[in-house]
């Protein structure tokens, strides 16, 4: 339910994501993943989704395990240090998800063209590989060969992609939807700018005045954002630079649960469907664990298990 501001409750915001819609999500390796939002999507049984993603392993693997995905346009899903995304891989192997493969730069350029309002952009990657030769649901909309009329260089033209909704998790925002981020942005900016609707979950809500004092941290001005949801630890078990580290213990537990559909169902029942909301989820993780993940203010991550300082 829209208020005077762009501030939504998690439940209300998730209701805006319809089953069958085309989404894109944030996340890079074990950070920036909008997992509180994804868990609520699973609680609300959003399904039949089409996803455009670069390497957003966490969101995609959870949604695969919940049988919420139908089509995926992608580049790479892997839990760095832990291996393949088994929920996703199994769903593909069992024919539940149709996949169209790109390279990181290929899929990101499709989003970039969408973000720019141009129907296509030339790239010098992917040609000659099976990414080029094998076409799944995109067919001729994947790319076309083109020879530059100025230089006669060979390029591929990749068409823009414009998902219905982008869901990203960032550091902080004001209630108008001005969003800031510490650290690398991966594909958050192009993903958001390419989408028709942008939902942002954040660790902190701050005054507009604070945003205007550090404009160099702003990744999205308010006019690109439709909804903001305040969700501390919203990336857990992934981490957020300057806030908290990724949770190896819970990642181990999660990865272990993805070995079979049955085990993942148990995980879902306990941690997702079995919790009413994100506070209940975090209580299940436990205060002690969450505190141990807290970022050291200087380094921006937890020093637990980080080994020796290199410099």
């Amino acid at each position: 339910m829209k208020t005077d501001t762009k501030l939504y409750s998690l439940k209300d915001a998730v209701r805006e994501v319809k089953s069958g819609s085309h989404i894109t999500l944030g996340g890079f390796a074990h950070s920036l993943a909008p997992l509180a939002f994804v868990r609520e999507m699973i609680r609300q049984d959003i399904s039949d989704l089409e996803v455009t993603a670069m390497g957003e392993a966490w969101a995609v693997d959870m949604l695969s395990g919940a049988k919420a995905l139908k089509k995926v346009r992608m580049s790479n899903f892997m839990f760095e240090g832990w291996g393949r995304c088994r929920n996703f891989s199994r769903a593909v192997e069992e024919g539940e998800i149709e996949v169209e493969d790109y390279s990181h730069f290929g899929i990101t350029n499709r989003m970039f063209a969408g973000s720019m309002g141009i129907p296509f952009i030339p790239v010098k990657t992917m040609s000659g590989s099976d990414i080029y030769h094998e076409r799944s649901f995109e067919k001729n909309n994947k790319f076309v060969d083109y020879t530059c009329p100025f230089t006669e260089e060979k390029v591929l033209l990749v068409p823009k992609v414009e998902p219905d909704v982008a869901i990203i998790h960032a550091s902080r925002a004001d209630v108008n939807g001005n969003v800031q981020l510490y650290g690398i942005s991966s594909t958050l900016e192009v993903a958001a700018k390419s989408a028709k609707k942008v939902i942002v979950t954040v660790e902190e809500i701050v005054e507009e005045e604070i945003i205007r004092k550090q404009p160099e941290l702003t990744i999205l001005p308010s006019f690109l954002v439709d909804a903001v949801i305040h969700l501390p630890y919203g990336a857990h078990p992934a981490g957020m630079y300057k806030y908290y580290d990724y949770d190896s213990d819970h990642i181990n537990l999660y990865i272990e649960s993805t070995r079979t559909n049955e085990k993942f169902k148990e995980y879902m029942e306990e941690y997702i469907k079995g919790t009413e909301n994100e506070i209940e989820y975090l209580e299940k993780i436990g205060l002690k664990q969450l505190l141990s993940l807290k970022a050291d203010p200087y380094y921006g991550y937890s020093l637990h298990n980080r080994g020796e300082v290199l410099q």
């Binding site: 760095e80 240090g81 390279s103 594909t187 080994g307």
Partner: protein
């Protein structure tokens, strides 16, 4: 931080050393974590102090404060010269500013092509692998690329299940035909030896084998025929003790090497 020096060099250390030797001073390299990252830092601490490390996540000129567990991990973000985007990093690769890239492989063929997408048919795969990521981009666009891979028969195959990442594709002239700007893979470094690609056929050939590695072992672990095997096979150059110690010091907790 120092460990007692053990002069028996491990296969991981050989790979890191061989990879570090391929850095030229001033190279701008797109690296992954793991062995290439250690190799890059070893090069920076020795003969290539001006080499710059870029990670695809948008990390420019990283100076890791702790060992990183991934290419977007926070110890690489902390202390970076610029925190940017994946689109920015890979655009620098397309432009040619990033000139050196490192690749791993689930499967590799004689032309240095790599599969990291599926085992079995693409549409109905037996095993779905992670997919290209930045690998196809590096292989397509980086001026120079180096492949680091464990030498096993199931990885060194005659025919890939899926060509994710182009080496020389079908041989000489293929890359030009598809308009790929990079030069193709320069070397393959494995735990058994160092390999190059024959100038005429673009098929993999033996350059050197690591100490104590026999030709028989290499042939046994390779599912295709090498284009060229030297009559007298050189032994891969070994690092001097100080450099070996440098490499070991770079991963004091044995996260990536000698784990």
């Amino acid at each position: 931080m120092k460990q007692s020096v053990n002069n028996v060099i491990t296969a991981d250390e050989m790979m890191v050393f061989a990879a570090s030797q391929l850095f030229k001073d001033g190279d701008v390299a797109l690296v992954g974590t793991g062995l290439p990252m250690i190799a890059a830092y070893a090069a920076k601490q020795t003969h290539a102090p001006n080499a710059v490390l870029v990670f695809e996540s948008g990390i420019m000129d990283a100076k890791a404060s702790h060992m990183a567990s991934g290419v977007g991990d926070f110890p690489l973000v902390h202390g970076a010269v610029k925190t940017s985007s994946l689109f920015d990093s890979l655009s620098l690769l397309q432009k040619g500013t990033i000139n050196l890239g490192f690749l791993g492989a689930a499967e590799i063929d004689a032309y240095g092509n790599i599969n990291s997408t599926v085992i079995g048919d693409y549409q109905t795969p037996k095993v779905r692998l992670p997919g290209s990521g930045g690998a196809n981009d590096i292989a397509s666009m980086a001026e120079r690329t180096v492949i680091l891979v464990k030498h096993q028969k199931r990885k060194f195959v005659e025919k890939l299940n899926y060509l994710t990442t182009p080496g020389y594709i079908d041989g000489a002239g293929s890359r030009e035909k598809y308009g790929l700007p990079g030069q193709g893979p320069e070397k393959v470094i494995t735990d058994l030896g160092v390999f190059y690609f024959d100038a005429a056929t673009k098929r993999m050939s033996i350059e050197s084998l690591h100490p104590q590695v026999s030709l028989e072992k290499v042939i046994e672990e390779t599912g295709f025929e090498f284009q060229h095997i030297p009559e007298e096979i050189p032994v891969t150059e070994m690092p001097k003790p100080e450099l070996l110690q440098t490499i070991r010091d770079l991963d004091p907790d044995k996260i990536y090497i000698n784990k």
